[in-house]
């Protein structure tokens, strides 16, 4: 009896500790080996300079964007002081401000909504690939589109203002918006009418996105309605290399409809397919 107790005591102190530790060790070694596999494959000679180049370019981009915003402000300040007081000069300054407001070149503050999107944490369903289980460029784009349809008049994603030419692109686990590299958490800020949240959440398109992306994969979405949502100014180029203005810049009237090509004029086969639902 005493021998049995002593034996049990010895078993419970070291053997159990050792056993548990070895089990954890085995688990960690397995995990490490699995993590190492892609790492070894990609840690080739050309990868290290690529990471360094990308890091350097990212830093340059942040500097350049800050300089653009700063120069824009200084130009505005100079223009205001050198305008003179003539009615014509004031009119031109107002036209320029209106054009810049319309293009998202000025930061805006107003009542609105902040939506934070994050990758799932904790256990997620095993369905779908790894790319389904994180916030994608498509998710950000869907959210921005649904906010626009709900009446948002200005939208920002992290540091980037959404403008008519803002593209969304997946790169690994991050997303490029306006060619700027954004990482989670993604904060989508929208300025709009007081019922923007209600309009958004009751829209069929938004509900479909929640059903198809948020619920099955556990993406984390948080909302806050705030009275002073801040949307940044677009900090990029407004240079046009290919597009030439047609209308006279001094008139604010819309150009004649004849300036636009007719959609039916572009040769495309007559639609022969019967109407059907989207797959």
């Amino acid at each position: 009896m005493t021998r049995a107790t002593a034996r049990l005591g010895r078993v419970s102190t070291w053997s159990v500790t050792l056993g548990v530790a070895l089990l954890a060790l085995g688990f960690l070694i397995a995990a490490q080996v699995r993590t190492e596999v892609p790492r070894v494959r990609y840690t080739s000679l050309e990868r290290v300079p690529l990471v360094e180049t990308a890091t350097g370019l990212k830093a340059q981009q942040v500097d350049l964007q800050a300089r653009i915003l700063d120069l824009g402000e200084r130009i505005r300040a100079s223009e205001t002081t050198t305008q003179g007081s003539g009615a014509a000069a004031r009119d031109l300054a107002a036209q320029l401000d209106a054009a810049r407001l319309a293009g998202g070149l000025l930061a805006l503050t107003g009542p609105g909504l902040v939506i934070q999107l994050e990758d799932p944490d904790g256990p997620v369903p095993s369905s779908g690939g790894p790319s389904d289980r994180r916030v994608s460029a498509g998710d950000l784009r869907a959210l921005v589109e649904q906010l626009s349809l709900a009446g948002a008049e200005a939208i920002g994603v992290n540091t980037e203002r959404i403008v008519p030419l803002s593209g969304f692109l997946d790169i690994g686990q991050a997303i490029l918006v306006n060619s700027a590299y954004l990482v989670p958490p993604y904060q989508v800020v929208a300025i709009g009418p007081g019922d923007l949240y209600d309009r958004l959440t009751s829209s069929a398109g938004f509900q479909e996105w929640i059903r198809s992306r948020v619920q099955p994969y556990g993406l984390r979405v948080k909302y806050a309605e705030i009275p002073d949502a801040a949307v940044p100014a677009y900090a990029g180029t407004v240079r046009l290399r290919y597009a030439r203005p047609i209308a006279s810049p001094s008139t604010s009237a819309s150009p004649p409809a004849s300036a636009s090509p007719s959609a039916s004029a572009s040769a495309s086969p007559a639609p022969s397919a019967p109407p059907s639902e989207a797959p």
Partner: protein
Amino acid sequence: MSFGFDDRRAQVTVALVLVLLGFLLIVQLRSQGSASGLEQLTSQDLTLLVANLNTRNDQLRGEVGDLESRLVRVQAAAGNGERSAQQLRTEIARDRTWAGLDAASGQGVTVALAGPVPASAVQEILNELRNAGAEALAVGDVRVVTGSVATGDPGALTIDGAPLGEAFSVIAIGDKDALAGTLVRPGGVVSLFAATYPDVTVVVNPTEQVDVPGTTRTLAPAHGTPRL
């Protein structure tokens, strides 16, 4: 007493295992911790990222150069009302075109769509064209501005309230070869649509001149105020 000897040996073994365990735990945590950083990207993604950043930074440097010379001109024109007014008109024209207030013309592509086109397909094409550097976009007769989104059921789409009908075009001004190339590349939207929407026809046509109208919408904010 062999008991003491066992005790010592077991203690040393446990200590060694725990040291190794701690080491591996840290290594593992560190490799997980950098998950959202650049280190996690594949060489292919890194190359794509570097190319994107390079293009974008070149554009930004051009913009900085433009703004610097504009600042100099604005300051120099301080005493000259006429010169200053002419500069302002040029800027207004450019910013209005960029925002979509004025019509524009230039080389680009026409993407003719026919059949039961879903709204998401139109948005997908617009996104591809934007990523390829489009400078002005229109769907049908509607200029795409901030907030323009195609919506509705396939075959009865609208954009900014205007019906598109069963056959319409997406028009983009920009480098016509780059714009067409991004759409028709292997794995691009044209091949994707052929597989996903077999009843939809897509014809991509790069041309020397396409026109896009100005928007009919008022783009002045109704709820937000500019932060100056």
